[in-house]
């Protein structure tokens, strides 16, 4: 048992324990998030140092910081193009009051100064105060809603892998059979079904009992209170990624099955299941990993819709509302959080390549 293995499996174990506690509807112990984060960073750093990737990762982190900075700038500029200010209420405010409010939030300063103020705030970790939720710091709103969105995202991604990969394996192992065809029809249907159709349909069947009245009230139609509430949103959000992963796993396995080393293994008389799960599957998972980056992005975007459909108190709901409200600090904060998560997810995927496939060298 090397240190690397201890760190790696520890990470997996801590995550699994957290999921188990969460699904049992128990409160996570205090400091759990920090433990997971610390352990994960430790494991990642160890892998980076051992893999001689320090220079590469430093470069990527600097790039990521630059990208996030550019996004902050871009969003800031885009927002100022939005016609209508944040305080153009339907009932026009007296000009003095409006001027006072704008002075309070620094909206009367020249644009360049506002931008500098914003960047200085960011550097201090201060995202500003929301315009609409008066007196509430954006950081607080994010701290309140992000965990919910994160839960939804993580469970959907888990569902995608736990359902997608076995379906892909099953289909590939029975290539061109009835099972294969049926599973692939299911998968391509999953790709073609938008979440804003799946969600309402699930609600209709499992909450309102149409057309099977026996199912009325089986699952709650909205909100996010306990694990029962997770089921439909997670299925809605995870269905498409699961279908994509299933198709990818299948095609990737079919390709690897033709490889020379598989023929060698068969010739040696290795049992077929051993070949399939030990040799073929392991080698097939690299493309699946490749797609994980875009999938995370898709799940991030998809979570808006799912959160709206199911009335989940996550970030997605706020984002759409904040844009229509012209709540500049909130929009900027949300955009930054989403982009940071995306950038980090992509970096993690790239690093995982080297773990899954030691042949890949990053540099």
């Amino acid at each position: 048992m090397t240190l690397g293995k201890i760190l790696g499996w520890g990470c997996v174990l801590i995550s699994l324990a957290g999921i188990a506690l969460d699904l049992a509807d128990l409160d996570l112990p205090r400091g759990y998030g920090w433990l997971l984060l610390g352990w994960g960073v430790a494991a990642a750093s160890y892998a980076v140092v051992r893999g001689h990737m320090v220079a590469y990762v430093t470069k990527r982190l600097l790039e990521a910081a630059f990208v996030v900075f550019m996004i902050a700038t871009l969003t800031f500029v885009l927002l100022r193009f939005l016609p209508g200010g944040p305080f153009d209420a339907e009932k026009a405010l007296p000009p003095e009051i409006k001027a006072n409010i704008e002075a309070k939030y620094g909206l009367d300063k020249p644009l360049g100064e506002q931008y500098l103020d914003y960047l200085m705030g960011l550097a201090r970790g201060d995202l500003g105060e929301s315009y609409k939720y008066i007196g509430r710091p954006v950081a607080d709103i994010i701290a309140e809603t992000l965990p919910v969105s994160f839960q939804l995202g993580v469970y959907s991604l888990l569902l995608a892998f736990l359902v997608g990969i076995p379906i892909g394996v099953l289909a590939a192992s029975r290539h061109n059979s009835v099972v294969d065809n049926a599973l692939m029809i299911f998968a391509i249907s999953g790709v073609a079904l938008p979440s804003f159709i799946v969600g309402p349909l699930l609600v209709m069947v499992f909450s309102f009992g149409i057309p099977f009245s026996a199912l009325t009230g089986l699952l709650p139609p909205a909100l996010w209170e306990s694990p029962v509430y997770y089921i439909m949103p997670v299925i809605t959000l995870g269905l498409r990624p699961a279908a994509i992963i299933a198709r990818l796993t299948r095609s990737s396995m079919l390709e690897v099955i033709q490889a020379d080393f598989v023929r060698t293994a068969r010739a040696k008389g290795v049992a077929w299941p051993v070949i399939l799960y030990k040799h073929v599957l392991k080698n097939s998972l690299i493309p699946v990993l490749t797609i994980s980056g875009p999938l995370v992005a898709g799940i991030l975007s998809g979570s808006f819709i799912v959160e709206i459909v199911f009335g989940i108190p996550g970030m997605g709901k706020h984002l759409v509302q904040s844009v229509t409200n012209r709540d500049y600090p909130l929009i900027l904060g949300m955009t930054l959080v989403f982009s940071t998560m995306l950038v980090i997810a992509n970096l993690i995927v790239d690093l995982l390549y080297t773990v899954v496939d030691p042949r890949i060298k990053l540099g």
Partner: protein, 311 residues
């Protein structure tokens, strides 16, 4: 890579006799596509949906916006085949007109993305060096913004611009521009990658040795050789545009009622909760169209590049 290797594959796959007439890559690909039943059927299904979209004013039984409160929320019946919505508008007509909006947005956005992304990617791949680096970093940044955030922001901006008097046209251009902002990026990446591969090939070198100018080399030699992957990409982009249009309309930032698109209808259906026909029929229209485009995309990819079969 696509062109040369496919031709080699063709000759290996189908034994050709000496006196047989030469077949172009395209007629060959069409033949392979025909063998793929699902893709072939999908192709005709898409043609059918396009025809419905174009002919909507003539084939829709009723107007998409005429309200008839006395006949609101009816399930499918002999007068309104697919029922009526909460304001008594005929669902079949609204779905037919929805096809018009959805397909228009999907196809025009894809074409626009192709032009912008194609030029951008071709320049990036052909010129190379620091130009390439700058152009690609820009794309990296655009890619790191979650697409829906970008879409929402740009959508709101364009929606509030008054480019046209006609409200229908105004709403359409708003969505169209918002989708194009995100759509061209992946095409630019694809074109760049393909150009990088093809530019090193011998026939390009030959053309250059003969003194052909870059524009001629790109349009005459490189473009035809990378057309296959581009067509496949477009086939996948159209449904994702349709989906994004529906996304935007669903969250209320796209087309608004009384206009009809499949996203608007899905939103109506979701709000109506317990009237299944309001969500099931638009959902089916959306589902089958997306399915057809995906199947056709798979079929085209296999037909144009048999090496990639099963991927």
């Amino acid at each position: 890579m696509a062109a040369t290797e496919t031709t080699i594959d063709n000759s290996a796959g189908a034994p050709t006799s000496r006196n047989e007439k030469g077949k172009s890559l395209w007629s060959d690909a069409w033949k392979r596509l025909k063998k793929n039943r699902a893709a072939y059927f999908s192709f005709y299904f898409i043609v059918f949906v396009c025809l419905i979209a174009i002919l909507a004013p003539w084939i829709a039984p009723y107007s998409y916006e005429t309200q008839n409160i006395d006949r609101a929320l009816l399930p499918p019946n002999s007068i309104n085949w697919l029922g009526t919505d909460s304001l008594g508008r005929d669902m079949l007509s609204r779905i037919i007109y929805g096809a018009r909006m959805s397909m228009a947005v999907g196809i025009f956005t894809a074409v626009f993305s192709l032009v912008v992304g194609g030029i951008y990617g071709a320049v990036s791949g052909w010129v190379g060096g620091w130009v390439d680096a700058v152009l690609m970093r820009t794309i990296d940044i655009l890619n790191a913004i979650p697409s829906l955030v970008l879409l929402i922001l740009v959508g709101v901006i364009f929606n509030s611009l008054d480019l046209f008097e006609n409200p229908e046209l105004k709403a359409l251009t708003g969505i169209f521009l918002a989708l194009s902002v995100g759509g061209w990026v992946s095409l630019a990446r694809l074109v760049r990658g393909q150009v990088l591969q093809v530019r090193e090939m011998l026939f390009v070198e030959g053309a250059r040795a003969l003194g052909a100018r870059p524009t001629r080399i790109i349009t005459r030699h490189i473009f035809p050789n990378i057309l296959g992957p581009i067509i496949v990409m477009l086939t996948y982009q159209i449904p994702s545009n349709i989906l994004f249009e529906s996304f935007l309309s669903f969250i209320g930032l796209g087309l608004q009622p009384p206009f009809s698109s499949w996203g608007v209808l899905a939103n109506d259906g979701w709000r109506a909760k317990s009237y299944p026909h309001l969500i099931v029929f638009p959902g089916m229209a959306l589902f089958f169209t997306m399915l057809a485009f995906n199947l056709l995309g798979d079929g085209l990819r296999d037909a144009l590049d048999p090496k990639l079969k099963n991927r």
